[in-house]
């Protein structure tokens, strides 16, 4: 069977096609990740990963197809999956039930990283509306803050969200653990800890990754981090 038999309708996601060489370059980035060999051993086509997969029940999505495309080194199909499929994965790792020890969820993590690093349309689209979360985790060290619980952001979570929002400061001060009195972070993170976190983002290239998908966010984060490091007398 040729690879094209698996390929979905070409204009579903509305992304631009690129030459085969570009698809091969991207696949090479996936394959050269040190974790790639840990995550892929071959495929029986048994479908256990699909049966266990929550996303497969609600989307046109299959962890088996991802593992097979990678195993066949089908750069064409891997590219299409990077544009159309990978953001549907729930990253629950139920697919680790694979009898061969494959980790389709892990392959998808790598494919997502490559999509972000190369500013693929799917990554930009998937991360639209997600900027404030990235800002929160990278700049404060905690991802979910109490003040995110706003009724207009979570209208489907019931009237309790409004109650929390209206009483936020009071209810936070009623929490007995001393670290929990915060409203804009999950807990009280020390200044020195934040400086260390910023250095990690800068020195591992994690901050640079943001540039490809959201230049404005990258600029803001860079400014916040450099300012803090300068205060501490540390060269970024």
């Amino acid at each position: 069977m040729t690879a094209s038999a698996y390929v979905k309708v070409e204009d579903v996601a509305g992304y631009a096609d690129v030459p085969l060489e570009e698809k091969e370059r991207l696949f090479e980035q996936v394959r050269s990740d040190p974790r790639f060999e840990d995550y892929l051993y071959g495929c029986y086509e048994c479908g256990i990963c699909v049966a266990a997969c929550p996303s497969a029940r609600f989307y046109d999505f299959s962890p088996r197809r991802v593992a097979q495309a990678c195993a066949r080194e089908d750069a064409e199909l891997v590219y299409q999956q990077m544009q159309e499929d990978i953001w549907e994965c729930s990253q629950c790792f139920s697919c680790l039930r694979c009898p061969r020890g494959n980790n389709p969820g892990g392959l998808i993590t790598i494919m997502r990283e490559v999509a972000v690093n190369n500013g693929l349309a799917s990554a930009r689209e998937a991360l639209e509306g997600y900027s404030r979360i990235i800002y929160k985790i990278m700049s404060t060290g905690t991802q979910v803050s109490p003040d995110m619980l706003q009724p207009d952001a979570f209208p489907d979570w019931g009237p309790e969200v409004r109650d929390v929002s209206e009483n936020l400061d009071l209810w936070r001060r009623a929490l007995p653990p001393e670290t929990h009195h915060t409203t804009s972070t999950g807990w009280d993170v020390s200044e020195r800890t934040l400086v260390e976190l910023y250095l990690i983002w800068l020195r591992t290239g994690a901050l640079d990754m943001i540039k490809e998908v959201d230049e404005g966010l990258h600029m803001i984060l860079q400014e916040v981090m450099e300012e803090r490091l300068e205060e501490e007398g540390i060269e970024a």
């Binding site: 009071l170 001060r173 800890t193 591992t204 990754m209």
Partner: protein, 395 residues
Amino acid sequence: MTIPVDELKRKKERFERDPETLPEDFHEQLFQLEEDGEWTIQRVPEPYVEVPTKYGRSKKVPMAHLWHHKSCGQCGHIPGYSTSIFWIMRKLGYEYEDPRDQTSCTAWNYYASATSNAAAQAAVAMRNFAAASESGYYPLIHCGTSYGHYKEVRAELLRHAELRREVRDVLATLGKPFVMPEEIVHYSEYLYAVRDQIAAQQVRDCSRVAVTVHPACHYYKLVEGDAIYDPDVYGGQRTAVVTAVAEALGAEVRTYSTWFDCCGFGFRHILVQRDFTRSFATQRKIEVMKEEANPDVVLTHDTGCVTTLDKSQFAAKAHERNVGVAVLSEAQFAALAMGAHPYKVCQLHWHSADYRPLLEKLGIDWEQAWAEFQESLKKLESGERQYLTWDDVDG
């Protein structure tokens, strides 16, 4: 030929593992790397309890001197979760450290957006482990995703020398030691280990409460070997955490056919694509539980699972779906059983699904409890006090 169903069932009841097919024990390499001078291993401090894991090996779970690696989702949106964990530990008389020198594991963002990489994720983990080690306390991980992700990080560091070098260098620039804990321990493992001590301090009867359990994917599917499996719970066929605590408290644990399914959290989906999360949580979990087990409460042991199962029911209810099950962590349930205040400690007013029928089954007058909580708040509103403390909630 007739299929010997009864014999197969008996076999499943008492599953014996083949010692020849045991996967490698990661500890050998962990300690070898210490001998080679690559890192230091933080030993599990005494006293500890040895608990059984998936492949039959035992795992040390420390009882005291714990450094609470908090969860951003718990502290941020379900604060009664972390408060209950602390409260139980105080009640049992075990000292602990609630650090400010701790960041989130950042894995929620990583699994949602991939705006990070293996080195950054490992460096965040090792920075937190270093902070715990420097404090002299041992890390106890509150979040199921942090726990799973840190085990994933450990596996990657064990396997890839170049990654170890890169992360060690980053830690060195921070002035931090390169320390890996002997065991990565989740709080639900701690509660499993002390369940008899919890039951010994039980003051509320749970025998009328029907419980279903939702096990967290990142607890037992991600680097699965050191999750707790107990031959006396589900015949060792399913992870024993949560269930063992509910059983120790005398609750009736009921099963259902989608027990192994994910909750539908999805990391990015819960924040920006909740139609998927809501559909999965209600159709594959809550409705199935309702139809097959009709529980008073679903107990789980992870940040995302409590959030997803609890918050997804409101919209489904509007569509007259068969939902309406209280959702608690087993830490909150255990705390309630031990006499914790439903609002001052368990903070149930942050939850969405109706928990009041459950409180009534536990013999708790929730209207009176709410009035007591409001009375406490007056101290803050009047300016008499800036914060409530542990003394206030236990008084």
